[in-house]
């Protein structure tokens, strides 16, 4: 659905919504028919996709009704997919595309069912680690297969060599499999290959010579391999040699059939960058990512006239290199120069040249407020990241005149600016004022202890803002409650605002239910918010979450919490609910703070009335715990566990605190 804009919003989308609203709704339309033959395949696919997404496919047998209509199934990451699922999927006559990536339970015997699927063109078995050489034989029967992903499976060189019989393959993803030069050699019959992924393999310089045998190969990934020299491959348009030591690429020229468009060299070590780039024909390269590589000067950019996307982060480039970036000029859309030695002087060089730049990352550089005036000269900017820089938000007019000029006001010139990151800068409250005029801003990230309530309130008029990060700020409870969120806001990140207390989150959530709050303490609130107003159920949820988090600390976990309240109340015929009087304790905190009065104990329940099997277990435990853990814990599902371990409660107080849960015992006991 998400990828299908046509289906969203209209009646078709609403039908799919209604059909997959719950398990019950699926059951209701499913019972009417055995198959969905008349349903167009893309609707069947969308329906099935949604059922899987919502995790309401209770039994694999439900797949059966789709077997004559579905063409594409994506079960990526579904850990429940196992042999039984595949037994049903094997009967899908029209299935063209099956994604089982990350389905941990899929093993060799499960993919036996795939062997008869003659229409299957695309199969993704990535990260199904239980699949080994023995299992891949079943896949060999699918002669029409065109795209096969088996990265990070249990295959070895022997299994990979078998794949050579799949003559129609044009995509083969063998990432993370330790295949050898010999195995690669046996694949050379696959002359239709266009896409070959060999990252992390044991291919060497000797092995890559085979790659010349693939006349259509356009995508090659040999990241994390021992390859240092790559021969000339005329059809390659996209090359990934990340984390390799690169001596030379494309040595020994031949005739060109396609120009290199994308080059990835993340973390690569260039033996001699100038020499490497002097051999490659880089005049058509549009995408270059050499972040974290050993490159420190960008002379080679001179020849890259077409470059659109340039990532030189973590490379230690200096202002001297910027002139080469500037030469890219109008074409450049994306520039990541974060974690480099750039300063405002470098940005000055860029300003007049890269007028079509849309994305600019300058985090962790030495740029300051002067740079903002140059950034403001790049009118197409949509995303700007200035985090961890020296930006203060104001400049002084001159050395003698100490009047402040707010530099962020210059950003008003950027009429397309959607995302601005000013985390960990020196910007203070007053300097944020000019941001109010950035009406089209959708994401704003701030993180600094120089900010206070005032800053948050300044941001209220930003009507397009959907994501706001306001972290590590000195934000008070009242400051948050008085904040009028922008209309469109749906995520508010307040992590690290240490002044805030838990209760403020629930108040804020009540006031603004559609805003998702993030805070170290807000998780608890979220749980509470899901529970309907009843005070007792609120307490229960709150406390069980506590118990869960403490369970790992090795503290005593009461087995008896497995009995539900209904069960236990049902056992005791004589019990009755105490009158529904108003709780003495308004919150759980208070409940837990009840002062112990060691002498008193709660009346115990009649043990004989508990379920038979449980009695023995109960008995032995009770001998040890009787004086501390009250059987009441069974009723409170863990509340008493919490209580008993820390404090001893006064029975009367507890009874008053939990009027609904606590049945009265007859005096006879």
């Amino acid at each position: 659905m998400d990828g299908d804009p046509e289906l969203v919003g209209g009646l078709v989308g609403r039908c799919i919504d209604a059909a997959t609203a719950s398990v019950e709704s699926v059951e209701r339309w499913r019972r009417q028919r055995r198959t969905l033959d008349r349903l167009p395949s893309y609707l069947a696919d969308a329906l099935l996709r949604r059922i899987i997404q919502r995790r309401i496919l209770l039994y694999p047998s439900w797949l059966e009704i789709f077997q004559n209509s579905a063409e594409e199934i994506d079960l990526k990451g579904e850990s429940s997919v196992d042999v039984e699922w595949l037994a049903y999927l094997g009967a899908f006559r029209h299935l063209r595309c099956l994604n089982l990536a990350n389905c941990r339970a899929v093993n060799n015997s499960a993919i036996w069912y795939l062997s008869g699927m003659n229409n299957l063109k695309e199969l993704d078995l990535s990260r199904c680690s239980k699949i080994t050489d023995a299992g891949i034989k079943h896949v060999l029967a699918i002669q029409n297969l065109e795209k096969l992903h088996v990265s990070e499976t249990g295959l070895t060189s022997n299994g990979v060599a078998l794949l050579s019989s799949l003559q129609n393959l044009n995509l083969l993803d063998l990432g993370g499999i330790p295949i050898t030069d010999e195995a690669l050699c046996s694949l050379q019959v696959l002359t239709n290959l266009e896409y070959l992924d060999l990252w992390g393999s044991k291919i060497s310089n000797r092995g890559v010579a085979v790659l010349e045998m693939f006349p259509k190969l356009s995508f090659l990934n040999i990241a994390w391999t021992e390859v240092t020299k790559l021969p000339y491959l005329p059809s390659i348009t996209c090359l990934n040699m990340s984390n390799c030591t690169i001596c030379s690429i494309f040595y020994g020229k031949g005739s060109t059939s396609a120009p290199l468009l994308k080059l990835f060299g993340l973390g690569a070590t260039f033996v001699d960058a100038d020499e490497v780039f002097s051999i490659i024909d880089t005049s058509h390269v549009t995408y270059l990512d050499v972040s974290s590589s050993s490159i420190c000067n960008l002379d080679f950019l001179v020849k890259m006239d077409m470059i659109k996307h340039l990532d030189v982060s973590f490379c230690g480039i200096t202002d001297d290199s910027v002139e080469y970036i500037a030469k890219a000029g109008k074409g450049l859309k994306f520039l990541n120069a974060s974690n480099s030695k750039l300063t405002s002087r470098g940005i000055c060089v860029l300003a007049g040249n890269v007028i079509n730049l849309e994305t600019l990352y300058l985090s962790s550089t030495s740029v300051d407020d002067v740079a903002i005036s140059y950034i403001a000269l790049m009118p197409s900017l949509r995303i700007v990241d200035l985090s961890q820089t020296k930006i203060k938000g104001f400049t002084y007019e001159s050395r003698d005149n100490l009047e402040k000029t707010f530099s962020l006001s210059l950003l008003q010139n950027l009429s397309h600016l959607e995302s601005l990151n000013l985390e960990d800068t020196l910007v203070e409250d007053e300097a944020l004022l000019p941001l109010v005029f950035l009406k089209q801003l959708r994401c704003l990230y701030l993180k600094s202890d120089l900010l206070s309530d005032v800053s948050l309130h300044i941001l209220s008029p930003l009507s397009s803002l959907t994501n706001l990060g306001f972290r590590n700020a000195v934000l008070s409870n009242s400051g948050l409650l008085l904040f009028v969120p922008p209309k469109a806001l749906h995520t508010l990140d307040l992590r690290g605002c240490w002044l805030l207390t838990e209760n403020v989150f629930s108040s804020f959530c009540k006031l603004h239910p559609r805003i998702e709050l993030r805070h170290e303490l807000a998780g608890m609130v979220a749980i509470d918010e899901n529970v309907s107003a009843g005070s007792t159920s609120l307490h229960r949820t709150y406390l069980t979450s506590e118990v869960r988090s403490e369970g790992s600390d090795g503290c005593f976990v009461d087995e008896r919490i497995k009995y539900s309240m209904e069960e236990l109340l049902g056992e005791d015929e004589q019990s009755y609910f105490s009158p529904m009087k108003e709780s003495k304790y308004s919150s759980t905190e208070e409940l837990l703070e009840v002062q112990p009065s060691p002498g008193t104990t709660l009346p115990l329940y009649d043990l004989s009335k508990l379920p038979k099997g449980a009695e023995e277990e109960r008995h032995s435990r009770d001998l040890a715990q009787r004086h501390r853990v009250r059987p009441l814990s069974r009723l409170m599902n863990g509340v008493a566990h919490q209580v008993s371990d820390s404090i001893c409660m006064d029975g009367a107080d507890l009874a008053a605190g939990l009027p609904i849960l606590l049945p009265r015992r007859p005096q006879a006991q």
Binding site: G10, L11, V12, R14, C15, I16, A18, A19, A21, E24, S25, V26, R28, W29, Q32, R33, L36, R38, L39, P40, L43, L47
Partner: protein, 143 residues
């Protein structure tokens, strides 16, 4: 030919409180919306511009506002294409594949959709039993 008039109330969830009529298909007609009043034959011609007749598989006729019917891209194309389709001339579209209850729901959706786009936020309820049939019809009608 017998006519059934249904007065217009936009917020009604079930504009046709006339289910018994389904029992005698063919020639029945239901006006949904459009401020229906008693119409003579002559008057009908003048109103043709504003209303459209949608006919279900069982021959049941739904007369609805043209504006509402235009919610469907398919009907819009049929009614506005310059080629001179029969549908364009008579303001009448037959759907031999769509059953009466489904077409009824579709018509309800047309009106609901108009209200929704004018800012009235209500839910359009779809019974799970009819979701699949309705989905196929909606898909055909590009709704």
């Amino acid at each position: 030919m017998m006519r059934v008039m249904v007065p217009l109330t936009h917020h009604r969830t079930d504009p046709i409180g006339l289910r018994p009529l389904y029992e005698s298909p063919g020639g029945r007609r239901v006006h949904i919306g459009g401020g229906v009043e008693e119409m003579e034959t002559g008057e009908e011609n003048t109103r043709k511009e504003e209303t459209v007749k949608l006919i279900s598989a069982e021959g049941f006729e739904f007369v609805i506002d043209k504006k509402a019917a235009m919610v469907s891209q398919t009907i819009r194309n049929m009614l506005t294409s310059p080629g001179g389709f029969a549908e364009t001339q008579h303001g009448q579209v037959t759907f031999p594949e769509i059953s009466t209850p489904i077409l009824e729901k579709i018509c309800q959706y047309f009106y609901w959709s108009l209200e929704y786009s004018s800012g009235k936020e209500t839910e359009f309820h779809i019974e799970p039993e009819m979701t699949l049939e309705l989905m196929m019809a909606a898909n055909y009608l590009h709704t």
